[in-house]
Symmetry: C2
Subunit: 362 residues, 2 copies
């Protein structure tokens, strides 16, 4: 491999995460077992038009089929799932097939869930092509489809056989999609604190120099490593892994109420600020951090406020479908400072209402 | 607990299998954690009318809901799965819910798959009410729905939190359904050989005395223990677990071609004889064993022959959807004698054709 490459070994599911520049066409070199497998690449029409030829170039000696679906979160549903099942059945793909998910979080989630359930489970490889998928969605084995308005309600914990994050794919991302990835990166900064938080404070300050490839590889690697740490400690999200949901109680409800209004990373950015604001209102987070988080989100080109037009009661009602509910109580991830987050199931309703009605920004 | 009870500890998934008479109303006594959980019992209308009151009696102090679906293999499909998802969502069942599958293999399979995929996985308990489910279907964590004509094509390996096999439920089984369970029992006799085979030779000889409860508890326990042994050695069926498919390459194709003609255990009985006949034709199994297997199947009140009216080519074509296919080759489980089964991927097409055209019975 010509390019710089960082590799992370994941114990849970014993697979590797590769992060590098130009590795997309090198899959078969680095995973020789692909040569003898039957492979189906699942992608969306947009990503396929940009990166499929490069991927196929590197898989030239293997038995490879391709299935493209329409892009977008609204297609992460049962109908698309059935289209993939039908294609697999009609073309006699058996249990020894490897699926390759070439695309963003939508492609990774639905291809992963297909792999988890087709013939009770076949192998799959994540090839995330968005920044958000590289730092978050492709890592950790969460697979799912949406069910009606309920995001990721049907799914499985199912680990990939490998994750391939090629920086080159980020070059063709629309600016808005690239920026959305920073929503999750900021989340990891808030969860981990320390060096990552310091780096982000630097990168996301006004007039900072643009990140070079080495810096970005390092950032993607760090986010992946933090996530892997949480996943290995608690793969089925029965305890500490729930912290990875920082900002997501808000984000999922926002996405359910306003489908297609926000990219996931944008909803997460609003969710992060909302979680910070909630923590501030509960006198847990100093206002200086709240301000800093806001500045970082804005500098990343992301939204931070819940729109005033949104009915706060509808938003709170939607939260009752949150997967983190335990013994009938919503659980929020709150923070005292970057690197110090915790789960709280006793948030007073009036404070929550204040935060989501957004009139209380300091 | 008043009744005789045998308990099997399963390492894979760390759960217990309980086999006894009259234990259905004792669930909460033996699993005190059920007292504080939110529970949804999934059953079919037929089983619910017979055994739901007894089950609920023993769960009186818990928060229990009930959902009944129409009985029958044809309802083990996506639509029923969605009905269960919808019910869970509309009634705000969260990730800390426990599903209880009260019924036969159909209820266990679809409830288990619901549990495997709702909110990426919730707990479930198997309460098998048919003999077939008690000796086979409820053990080992295979969950699935059918997909079009393709049996169990969509599913997951997902272990239950417990299995409760109450012999009392067998009293209300129609004779044909009870007898179908013996198809899988004979399979375990062929797989394990030894004492189990000897017992079965005794029980399934003409004019044998009827089995008493202690004998049946022992038989169910033995079959469960054999299956658990295979599952623990190879939970995802990547190697030795495939032997549990003895007779099933034929059975699944028969069921796909003639939906509702046979109960699963009946199709398995035909499949076992077909596998034995194939082994005999390949000069692996002596004719004395072939004859004995035929006699046992007949004595159990089960069919053994593929109907002459069935197109052999159609049956072989249907087998191409078998989940055991590897590198494009069908794999059959063959036998040299009871207790000596193995996987064979090189069965000559003409011999297979002879066997499924059924004209070659010795």
């Amino acid at each position: 491999v010509k390019a710089e490459l960082r590799t992370l070994q994941v114990r849970e599911g014993s697979y590797s995460i590769y992060v590098g520049h130009g590795i997309l066409s090198e899959l078969q070199v680095l995973q020789p077992e692909l040569r003898s497998a039957r492979i189906l690449v699942v992608s969306d029409t947009l990503v396929a038009s940009l990166w499929l030829p490069t991927l196929l170039e590197g898989l030239s000696s293997a038995d490879v089929g391709v299935l493209t679906i329409n892009p977008g979160e609204t297609n992460k549903n049962q109908q698309t799932l059935y289209d993939i099942y039908d294609h697999l059945l009609q073309n006699h793909y058996h249990r020894d097939t490897i699926l390759i998910a070439l695309g963003g979080g939508v492609i990774g989630d639905i291809t992963g869930f297909t792999a988890a359930t087709y013939q009770r489970g076949i192998q799959f490889i994540q090839v995330p092509t968005t920044l958000l998928a590289q730092v978050d969605a492709a890592i950790g084995g969460k697979t799912a489809i949406n069910y009606g308005v309920h995001k990721n309600m049907i799914g499985a914990f199912y680990q990939p056989a490998a994750v391939w994050s090629d920086l080159r794919c980020l070059q063709t991302l629309p600016t808005r999609v690239y920026q959305a990835g920073w929503g999750e990166i900021i989340k990891y900064g808030l969860l981990a604190g320390g060096d990552l938080w310091e780096s982000l404070s630097h990168y996301l300050s006004p007039n900072a120099a643009p990140l070079n490839d080495t810096g970005l590889i390092d950032l993607i690697y760090q986010c992946a490593a933090i996530k892997v740490g949480f996943v290995e400690a608690d793969v089925r999200e029965e305890a500490s892994r729930v912290l990875l949901n920082l900002g997501h109680t808000f984000a999922h409800a926002l996405e359910a109420l306003c489908p297609e209004k926000w990219l996931h990373g944008e909803a997460v950015a609003i969710g992060l600020y909302s979680a910070a604001l909630l923590s501030y209102q509960l006198r847990l987070l100093p206002s200086s951090f709240l301000e800093k988080i806001k500045t970082m989100i804005i500098t990343a080109g992301l939204p931070y406020q819940i729109p005033a037009s949104l009915d706060p009661t509808a938003l709170i009602t939607q939260m009752q479908y949150d997967k983190k509910i335990q013994s009938g109580r919503l659980r929020f991830i709150l923070l005292r400072r970057p690197g110090d987050c915790f789960v709280e199931s006793m948030v007073p309703k009036d404070v929550l209402y204040d935060v989501v009605s957004s009139a209380t920004c300091p």
